[in-house]
């Protein structure tokens, strides 16, 4: 099948699935539908990825409105992978909540918003027009807001309100940035109607006004950076991640943040053409390092397991941003880290979500002895947290190691030192939390409930990916990531 049609079909399937969920009579069917839709999307995504890598490096559709190159194709595959895992987990998670109010009305709302968010994120990743990309990004905020307060409690409403207001402001700034970038091209002589097309803005022939481009990049970085959870504008993130149901947290952490960072990175090639490499890279290094440091500080004092994971997200988004700032080698490490972090963080939220259901709370002192109380999710928790703090042989260790080499190679010694210090702090404090949760004395609880059929495959797949990619990187994956990194180099 042609990649061009896959692009349109991918969007259509997600939208149709969302509409279908609204009309299904049983919660069970909604949960099956989202898994089926994600599986179909996976086939499309791989088809597009293969076409991009085999062909001229990009696929366009609908008269240049959609444009997919190696960079976006990579992100689409990771997105769909996270969605597939999280959708399967949603079945496991919500089935055991059936008694506690996962009624058909809630299920329908969940299914429609879930697949709606998928469609919005796909729109972001596929758009060539930066205006449409922005529209998609704003749509993700609006659609996912009610996923946070799927059960409207006081805490979830508070988290949702903060998320709505802070991200709306952020996204407004991003729009200013987009407009400024479009305005910067006008002195160039390219037809005005194309001013918002990324392919025009990023082409080396475009003459961009340096002053406007400078303003544009700062606005975009701060604006989309808010949504990506970069410090110091991350304040909505721990609240939203901790209050949302576990599958939603996994999707937020596993990919929503990456989608926002993707938008920032789309503005890097134009900024480099207009201002030279140092301006954009410098800002990325500063924001990345700051996020790592701030997150490390908060991780030390966390008591709630989901908030702990949320601050880990701030840290890892910081690591990815830092990587992007370190030139081509760093961009490679950042992209590899994106894949590793998405898989690992999803698994961690799955484990904490399920254990939270068993133990009745996400407070870390109530979750103790998870390994003995619940073998499957106990192992998932142990593996995912060990991987998150960078223990070998898991793949996050490999991508962080590549990042260190990139930092040393470009002579970013200060960032390197700060990164190592923060990682050390995170390692020690998170390990302390983990030991209590995994190996402590299990208190008396209800016996393990029957898990859904998909529980074991989810854990095996995620752990397997983390382990295999940590030990051996397939040549085709490495080439795919390298060509994605090459897009950023212009």
């Amino acid at each position: 099948m042609l990649a061009e049609q896959s692009i349109l079909l991918m969007l259509a399937v997600a939208v149709a699935g969302a509409a279908l969920c609204l009309s299904l009579p049983r919660p069970r069917q909604v949960l099956t539908t989202i898994v089926a839709v994600s599986a179909v999307e996976m086939a499309f995504a791989i088809n597009i990825w293969a076409a991009v890598l085999a062909g001229p490096g990009s696929v366009t559709a609908a008269e240049q409105w959609f444009y997919i190159d190696a960079f976006s194709a990579f992100h689409i595959v990771v997105l769909v992978l996270v969605f597939l895992l999280s959708s399967a987990f949603a079945g496991v998670y919500f089935t055991s909540e059936a008694a506690h109010g996962f009624m058909i009305s809630v299920a329908r709302r969940f299914g429609a918003l879930w697949l709606g968010s998928l469609a919005a994120m796909l729109l972001v990743l596929m758009s060539n027009n930066l205006g449409i990309m922005w529209v998609g990004m704003e749509a993700t905020t609006l659609l996912s807001a009610f996923l946070i307060s799927l059960y409207p409690t006081r805490l979830s409403l508070e988290a949702m309100w903060k998320y709505l207001i802070i991200c709306s402001i952020g996204i407004a700034f991003a729009f200013m940035g987009t407009l400024l970038a479009a305005a910067s091209i006008q002195s160039g002589g390219i037809v005005e109607a194309d001013a918002l097309l990324w392919t025009h803005l990023a082409s080396p022939e475009a003459h961009l006004d340096p002053i406007l481009m400078k303003f544009a990049f700062v606005f975009v970085l701060v604006g989309y950076g808010t949504k990506a959870g970069l410090a110091p504008i991350h304040s909505w993130l721990p609240d939203a991640h901790s209050q949302a149901p576990a599958p939603v947290s996994a999707m937020f952490s596993g990919f929503l943040l990456n989608t926002a960072l993707y938008c920032v990175m789309r503005f890097v090639p134009p900024a480099q053409h207009a201002l030279g490499p140092n301006f954009a890279n410098g800002l990325l290094i500063v924001f990345g390092t700051l996020s790592i440091l701030v997150a490390a500080g908060f991780i030390v004092f966390q008591r709630d397991a989901k908030r702990l994971l949320a601050y880990h997200s701030v840290e890892h988004m910081g690591i990815i941003t830092l990587g992007y700032g370190l030139g081509p080698l760093g961009a490679f490490a950042a992209l590899f880290h994106t894949l590793n972090h998405s898989v690992c963080k999803s698994l961690a939220f799955f484990a904490v979500g399920r254990l939270g259901q068993r133990f009745g709370s996400h407070e870390m002192h109530t979750i103790s002895g998870a390994l003995r109380a619940d073998h499957l999710w106990g192992i998932a928790l142990l593996v995912s947290l060990l991987a998150l703090i960078g223990v070998a042989p898991f793949s996050i260790f490999m991508s962080e190691y590549q990042l260190l080499r990139a930092a040393a190679g470009t002579g970013a010694w200060l960032a390197l030192a700060l990164f190592l210090i923060a990682s050390g702090v995170v390692f020690v404090s998170a390990l302390r939390h983990l030991i209590d949760m995994a190996f402590g004395d299990p208190k008396a609880h209800e016996p393990p409930a029957r898990e859904g059929k998909l529980a074991v495959p989810i854990v095996v797949l995620a752990v397997g990916l983390l382990l295999v990619l940590g030990l051996w990187m397939p040549l085709s994956l490495s080439q795919a990531i390298a060509s994605a990194a090459a897009v950023l180099a212009g």
């Binding site: 205006g131 529209v135 409207p152 006081r154 309100w161 407009l179 305005a183 006008q186 001013a195």
Partner: protein, 214 residues
């Protein structure tokens, strides 16, 4: 054209200062409606028939939503939540007016910085848009009432709308409509959120939303 833009600019400033200094939420919503209609006219003035039906559609859509639709929605929410006043904002009304004066200076300075790069954009409108953005942000941060925060968000949105109209002449219609749709859904979502908050907390003062920390 410039004389008309001067008038829009002056009336726009007036509406912003009114929003900064008014405690009655009903009055604020009416000022917001006035502001929506006022700045909805900008595409018609700037393009003066050059873009014909496109400018008309853009202006019509904006006036319908920001001048009529959103204010009606907000008035209904106000009636349901039974709040009439922003009682004690985090920043007092006098200080808010003083902020307005400071923001006016800041926006003039920023405009003169940006103007050389954006030579085709009229100075007064650039100034208006930056001022609207600053005032909108300030209202969101400084007010306790969730409805006032939504009003602030819409003022910010107005500022960005004006900025878009004067800087990027040839934005595709699809993008403009997408932006408008997002604003529509955004306010709608915030409205539903306020409804839930009111039901759960018995009030829409956002300083009650302070359980999540650290």
């Amino acid at each position: 054209m410039f004389a008309l833009l001067e008038t829009v600019h002056a009336l726009g400033l007036l509406s912003c200062f009114a929003l900064l200094g008014t405690s009655r939420i009903g009055a604020c919503i009416r000022w917001l409606s006035f502001q929506g209609i006022l700045f909805g006219l900008v595409p018609l003035i700037v393009h003066q028939g050059g873009l014909g039906w496109r400018a008309a559609l853009l202006a019509g859509g904006n006036i319908a939503l920001k001048g009529i639709g959103f204010p009606l929605l907000l008035l209904r929410l106000r009636a349901r939540a039974e709040t009439n006043r922003e009682v004690e904002p985090f920043v007092s009304f006098v200080m808010s007016i003083l902020f307005g004066i400071f923001a006016l200076g800041l926006s003039v300075w920023l405009t003169s910085e940006l103007k050389p790069a954006l030579h085709q954009a009229p100075f007064v409108m650039l100034d208006s848009s930056i001022f609207l953005i600053l005032v909108g942000l300030f209202l969101i941060i400084s007010r306790r009432n969730a409805l006032m925060q939504v009003i602030g968000y819409l003022v910010l949105e107005n500022g960005i709308f004006v900025f878009g109209v004067i800087t990027v002449v040839g934005t595709p219609l699809l993008v403009e409509l997408g932006v408008l749709l997002d604003a529509f859904v955004g306010v709608f979502v915030m409205g539903i959120a306020i409804y839930h908050i009111n039901r759960e907390f018995g009030s829409i003062e956002v300083d009650r939303l302070s359980a999540l920390k650290g």
